[in-house]
């Protein structure tokens, strides 16, 4: 069995909200990456929760950079380390807004250039830092402060967009499955080139559920098939255990939606859209895993 190291690289004194899964994710990412790691962080909740100068809650170098710039900045870092023959891990840890919206140009460029780095997008499905506005990753029907009547547009297929760049390693993960996440980060960092992990990050104030339910909400996402755990190594898809089980016997997606205040009053059409989208993604992944498409 894989042992998770005891070392902590993120101290308990962060100013994250109670029940924040994003800081939990970062904790496991750093445990997997170890001390020879640099984090590149665009504007997001993580720019706030790491603490205020002169303090930092992080035990690895952490470079904060402008909202749109993370992947490009990491490209420079990665090339400079390569020039200096250093093996330091360069990890971008970015929110969904900094990835699917303002940061997508830099992300695409870095993947196309085969930059040696790991890009992790923690997806709380909105702009948390600025108080929960919609992002391109907000699901249909979710209420945010800029979609008070529920979002009309669909969630961007981020993993699909990244997959179109044919990276050597791409995975999805979820904060409720930390061991799975840990292993994926380890594996990603053992591979040369651009790697991508898309992590679902339930967020109590944004999704409006009590903070102690963070793990449960993440599990419901996976069990209902609203979030699918899989890996894509050199194009080959493997659906991971928990999602395999969910595909055989999923729980109703209503069980996932109803625990979250942001979906209160969601229309039937929006639920159907979410359902059919989830089913389509699952079907496609299964076919891919079987090598059919």
């Amino acid at each position: 069995m894989t042992e998770i190291p005891k070392e902590e690289y993120i101290l308990k004194c962060t100013s994250a909200c109670a029940g924040c899964s994003s800081s939990l994710i970062l904790r496991y990412v750093l445990k997997a990456a170890g001390e020879d790691t640099v984090l590149v962080i665009p504007a997001c909740c993580t720019s706030v929760i790491q603490g205020i100068y002169p303090n930092t809650a992080m035990n690895v170098p952490i470079y904060n950079v402008a909202f749109a710039a993370a992947a490009a900045c990491a490209s420079g870092m990665s090339e400079a380390f390569a020039k200096a023959k250093k093996k330091t891990n360069v990890i971008v840890y970015a929110g969904d807004g900094g990835t699917v919206d303002i940061g997508i140009q830099a992300l695409s460029g870095a993947f196309e250039r085969n930059t040696n780095f790991l890009y992790i997008c923690y997806d709380n499905e909105a702009y948390g830092n600025t108080g929960m506005q919609r992002s391109g990753s907000t699901p249909t029907g979710a209420r945010t402060t800029t979609t008070p009547g529920g979002k009309m547009h669909a969630k961007k297929d981020l993993a699909g967009i990244v997959a179109a760049h044919n990276p050597p390693y791409l995975a999805t993960a979820c904060s409720a499955y930390p061991m799975d996440l840990f292993k994926k980060v380890k594996k990603a960092l053992s591979i040369e080139g651009p790697k991508f992990i898309h992590v679902l990050a339930p967020c109590p104030p944004g999704w409006r559920y009590p903070s102690e339910q963070t793990i449960e909400v993440g599990k419901l996402a996976v069990k209902s098939g609203m979030w699918i755990l899989y890996e894509r190594e050199y194009g080959k898809v493997t659906i991971n255990g928990p999602s395999k089980a969910a595909m055989i016997k999923p729980i109703p997606i209503e069980d996932y939606l109803s625990v979250q205040g942001r979906f209160k009053g969601i229309t039937r059409e929006a639920v159907d859209m979410l359902k059919s989208q989830a089913e389509k993604t699952a079907k496609h992944l299964k076919l891919e895993e079987e090598g059919i498409c």
Binding site: S15, A16, C17, A18, C20, C45, V48, I49, I52, P204, P205, R208, Y209, P210, S211, G261
Partner: protein, 175 residues
């Protein structure tokens, strides 16, 4: 000019309390400003808000350094924050507590706002909402009129429990 500093934790409604208080003072025919001091903190961190009430237009924007009244919505902030800092000698303290408290020798009023919120079922995402009950206590202390508190609350919230909570606090506070 009457200056009030409100201490709370992010998410408890201290900022809204300040806004409601300014609105009520304004409905009383006074000039008022309310400004939160925003740190880059997330939910649960101590926050302060400032309210100024005057008979003349208010041109001061800087933080209140010597308040006439300090309101403490969450007594646990007193472990890390000196809530009495700069409080005028003849100043007053209003504190959310289940029992009478004497804070630093100042005239102190205690009231169980949390209890009132829970009784009125004013709970959002697991936290009791204190911003409307506290307005009732402030009315009892004659900072603003009870009519203006009611109209301010109904202007900002449609849920009637808010007005009821303020009325309960007005009844409960012993002067």
């Amino acid at each position: 000019m009457y200056e009030i500093r409100i201490h709370s934790r992010g998410g408890q409604g201290g900022v809204t309390a300040a806004r409601l208080l300014a609105l009520a003072a304004f409905r009383d025919g006074k000039y008022a400003t309310a400004c939160p001091f925003y740190g880059a903190e997330r939910r649960g961190a101590p926050v302060v808000s400032f309210v100024r009430i005057d008979d003349h237009p208010i041109r001061v924007y800087s933080q209140i350094r010597s308040p006439d009244l300090v309101v403490v919505l969450d007594s646990s902030v007193m472990e890390t924050v000196d809530v009495l800092q700069g409080l005028k000698e003849e100043g007053t303290v209003l504190i959310n507590a289940t029992h009478g408290m004497d804070v630093g020798g100042y005239r102190t009023y205690s009231i169980d706002l949390t209890g009132i919120a829970l009784r009125e079922n004013l709970v959002v995402a697991g936290s009791p909402i204190l911003n409307t009950p506290v307005l009732g206590a402030l009315a009892k202390m004659d900072i603003v009129s009870v009519e203006s508190v009611t109209s301010a609350i109904s202007e900002m919230f449609s849920d009637e429990r808010n007005v009821k909570a303020a009325q309960a606090a007005f009844q409960e506070l012993v002067i």
